[in-house]
């Protein structure tokens, strides 16, 4: 078996030999030719088989003829110069970068192109006078780099990247270094003439550096502490804000009255380390988005039919412009963006992503079609019932859950610790001060501030960011991409896991097919395959894919009754393939079991033979996942599909699991809400748009995806489908992460006690504070990093074994 020189796939049915190389299809060969003819064959030297098979659909990008739409897509549009940024999910290697950045060799109208690999975008400057955007997109698609253009692109506001944390970190680090440097002479307390003379200059310089640290870099802590106090929560930022302000005020007073150097070095160091922790716990996956809604799934435009005096014309209309009563033309494999009535043609709509129903549904003209379905058989004509924002599906997004910030309700471990910590800290400070008031009044205030300074919970505040940040990266390496670190902490509290069925437990790529009935002869089998070959119905395609294709004959006659079945004739032998009612004309048996199962029935010369039954194929290790999960959590399955799979599912599920079918998107959301009111912490695992509400309502919503670059609904995390079996490990790892944080708390409390020893006795010198503070922070960072590294290794080990 040869492998394709372009895409590396095995050449199965067709092998094309060309230039001493093998290609699996014409598409791959064409790309090779284009690149070879234009001296771009370096593409193949850079990486082995770097290509992607181009799938090009005629007319898919016709909407780019509409200038309004192209205007929205272009970033810059002046005569002769256009700039566009396109998302290309297939970008995956350095060859991709190379060829996309050398597009100007293919067409001189392209001036420059620049790839952003992590984001999988290419930014192209071109001249639309010589090359329209449509042709540019077609060129890219022909090369196997088809841009993903969705409704979201039309509404995109130029979202500004928030870089303030980096600036704050930069300011703090800059000031920290300089203040350390300036306070060096005083650390050694050398009583030297010149040093004494220049002391005030050094000190005021330090003060100057400390100003932006306290008022710019540290601002967030004050804001957050204020917010916390106002809602009567003693969060971790309260003692930090106290620490920063005490450090700053005491140091300023010391400098003004020439009492000492102050603690500006400790203060800027503290802020620097805290911000570093904040920075570290952010791990962004540039190529993923956790905030997507239906807009990134829907197309940007559809074909609208205009009636002018009996002559029909087509135009590309923006989805937002569609009104009630408009006529639309939906081609094969196109998505219906509005609720509509079917007017003409045979609709076979795949709703699996929208409702969770596994099989495409046949609709007759006059029936309602809901937005979000994908047409599977030929073109249809529909009339718009409701515009896109008011459609049945998009209504889900008006649910309050999508506007609520549910992070606020979650109290993190750090915050709950900080309550006790702050109270005891204040208590110690007050007691120590009162004691010193009796011994030595002059030192009492010193002690009070020293306690507040040294106990500033830098190490505690760092424990969670570093542990969770590390786990975030470990999860990311194992293809569970988490939105932010607080999600991991929530994951450790999970006691109920809710699964969607279609697309989550089952794979979308494969179907298990089994035959029931009278065994077919060789002749009949070849008749069947020859007939199936001519059909475009998804079930026929998947059945055709598994059958033996040795004796394919030309059909004498072929008839397709869309939505019913197909008839093929060879040598006067007639075979009928399709639904039960189509195959068996006088069907008396209206067996419900036959109705609910997905099957292709076959009859030859009007004699019923049997049927191929399609089973949903479950992901690898579903049973293992259920078994290991059921030890610690409740398992629930909410499916939008019918009950056809119920019996089968029951066999792989643990006994006390809950199974619910025919669940609408709102039902799923409400079910989870209800469970949460009963005190459950719910992890929802889903995949489609119909799970979007449930994913948002649940404490942690993880969407599972075969290809993480393509659409997934808004969620807290995206799990690559191949890692489905690791769900249990991820949950237990997040629990271990929380344990590590607890140990780190104990660790940092020890440091605080040592520091308090100095403070309470009135011996806290700037140099001690300057050493103790970074030392405790760094040791916490080292401890959490090592601990998470070793726990993470278990995951490595486990996935290697299984």
């Amino acid at each position: 078996m040869e492998n394709c020189f372009h895409c590396g796939d095995e050449c199965r049915t067709t092998v094309i030999e060309h230039h001493d190389k093998f290609f699996c299809c014409n598409g791959c060969k064409t790309v090779f030719d284009i690149l070879n003819d234009n001296d771009l064959s370096y593409y193949y030297d850079l990486e082995q088989t770097p290509g992607t098979t181009p799938f090009f659909q005629e007319g898919k990008f016709d909407f780019l003829e509409n200038e309004k739409i192209t205007g929205q897509l272009l970033e810059f549009n002046e005569q002769g110069t256009q700039v566009v940024s396109l998302l290309i999910p297939t970008i995956h290697c350095s060859s991709c970068i190379w060829v996309l950045e050398n597009l100007n060799k293919l067409n001189p109208a392209i001036k420059t192109s620049q790839v952003n690999f992590p984001k999988k975008t290419v930014r192209i400057t071109f001249s639309s006078e010589e090359l329209t955007l449509q042709n540019l997109v077609i060129l890219l698609s022909k090369l196997g780099y088809e841009p993903y253009i969705s409704l979201d692109d039309a509404t995109k506001k130029n979202s500004k990247v928030d870089r303030s944390l980096i600036y704050k970190l930069g300011v703090a680090g800059f000031a920290f270094g300089n203040i350390m440097f300036l306070s060096f002479p005083e650390y050694f307390e050398v009583n030297e003439f010149w040093l004494d003379k220049f002391k005030p200059v050094f000190r005021w310089l330090m003060f100057g550096f400390a100003l932006p640290v306290a008022f710019y870099s540290g601002r967030d802590y004050f804001v957050s502490a204020y917010k916390g106090l106002r809602s009567k929560i003693l969060n971790i930022d309260v003692p930090i804000a106290i620490g920063i302000s005490v450090l700053f005020i005491r140091s300023t007073i010391e400098i003004i009255f020439d009492l000492g150097t102050g603690f500006f070095d400790s203060m800027s160091g503290l802020v620097f380390f805290l911000l570093l922790g904040k920075f570290f716990q952010q791990k962004t996956y540039a190529f993923l988005s956790f905030e997507r809604d239906y807009k990134s799934y829907f197309p940007i435009a559809v074909t609208r039919l205009l009636k002018n005096n009996a002559s029909k014309t087509e135009e590309q209309a923006q989805v937002y412009e569609l009104k009630k009563g408009d006529r639309l033309l939906i081609r094969n494999a196109e998505l219906l963006p509005v609720d509509a009535i079917l007017i003409k043609g045979n609709a076979l709509i795949d709703y699996s992503f929208v409702t969770g129903e596994a099989e495409p549904i046949t609709k007759q003209s006059g029936e309602h079609l809901f937005a979000g379905g994908r047409q599977q058989a030929g073109s249809i004509e529909v009339e718009v019932l409701k515009p896109v924002e008011q459609s049945y599906l998009t209504q889900l997004w008006s649910n309050e859950i999508f506007n609520k910030n549910n992070q606020s309700s979650f109290q993190s471990l750090t915050d709950s610790i900080s309550r006790r910590f702050t109270l005891s800290l204040l208590l110690i400070a007050i007691i120590a001060t009162t004691v010193w008031l009796f011994i030595d009044v002059s030192i009492a205030l010193n002690v009070f501030t020293a306690v507040l300074i040294v106990a500033c919970p830098c190490a505690i505040a760092l424990a969670a960011p570093f542990t969770l940040g590390n786990l975030l990266r470990i999860f990311g390496r194992h293809k569970l991409y988490i939105k932010n670190s607080s999600v991991i902490e929530q994951m450790s509290h999970i006691n109920m896991v809710v699964f969607d069925k279609t697309g989550t437990l089952t794979t979308s790529t494969k179907n298990t097919i089994s035959y029931e009935g009278i065994t077919l002869t060789k002749e009949e089998e070849s008749l069947l395959t020859s007939t199936l070959r001519a059909s475009n119905h998804p079930l026929s395609r998947s059945l055709y894919a598994i059958l033996d294709k040795n004796n394919i004959q030309t059909l004498d006659d072929f008839k397709e009754d869309v939505g019913q079945g197909i008839t093929g004739v060879i040598n006067k032998q007639k075979i009928k393939v399709g639904s039960f009612n189509y195959v068996e004309k006088d069907a008396k048996i209206k067996n419900t079991q036959i109705q609910q199962r997905t099957a292709i029935h076959i009859s030859k010369d009007n004699e019923y033979k049997g049927c191929y039954v399609f089973y949903n194929e479950y992901r690898d290790g579903v049973k293992d996942v259920f078994n290991s999960l059921s030890k610690t959590v409740n398992i629930v399955i909410l499916s939008g599909d019918n009950e056809g799979e119920k019996e089968h599912l029951k066999t792989i599920l643990p006994k006390h699991a809950t199974l619910l079918f025919n669940q609408k998107p709102e039902d799923k959301l409400n079910y989870i809400k209800q469970q949460q009111q009963n005190g459950k912490t719910v992890l929802m695992i889903g995949d489609g748009l119909n799970d979007a509400g449930a994913l948002a309502q649940s404490n942690v919503g993880i969407s599972i995806s075969e290809n993480v670059n393509i659409f997934s609904p808004a969620c807290d995390g995206i799990l690559d489908a191949s890692k489905f079996k690791d769900i249990t490990s991820f949950l237990s790892l997040s629990r271990k992460g929380v344990t590590i944080i607890k140990y780190a708390f104990i660790f940092s409390l020890v440091y605080n006690l040592i520091g308090l020893g100095f403070a309470v006795t009135g011996h806290l010198k700037p140099v001690v504070a300057a050493i103790l503070m970074p030392l405790s922070s760094i040791s916490i960072v080292v401890f959490t990093t090592i601990a998470t590294y070793f726990t993470g290794k278990k995951l490595n080990h486990k996935s290697n074994v299984s």
Binding site: N38, E58, S94, Q114, V161, Y167, G170, L205
Partner: protein, 71 residues
């Protein structure tokens, strides 16, 4: 020893210059994509080599536009 005022001033100015350079580079988005430049850097040589090869038998090629070919 009064020279120390000048030295301090210089050291602070130098530090500030580097700091502003850092801020501006962040602002311009230089740190947004940390991966692609590292790959792109390695292409440069190959491109030059190919260009010189090409110069010899360079013919004016028709730009590729698929739309026209399809119709």
């Amino acid at each position: 020893m009064n020279i120390i005022y000048m030295l301090l001033a210089i050291s602070v100015i130098v530090a500030l210059v580097f700091f502003t350079v850092f801020i501006f580079s962040v602002k311009n988005g230089q740190y947004d994509d940390m991966y692609t430049p590292s790959v792109r850097m390695l292409f440069e040589d190959e491109l030059v080599k190919e260009k010189s090869d090409k110069q010899k038998n360079k013919s004016i090629k028709k730009p590729i536009i698929f739309k026209e070919q399809l119709k």
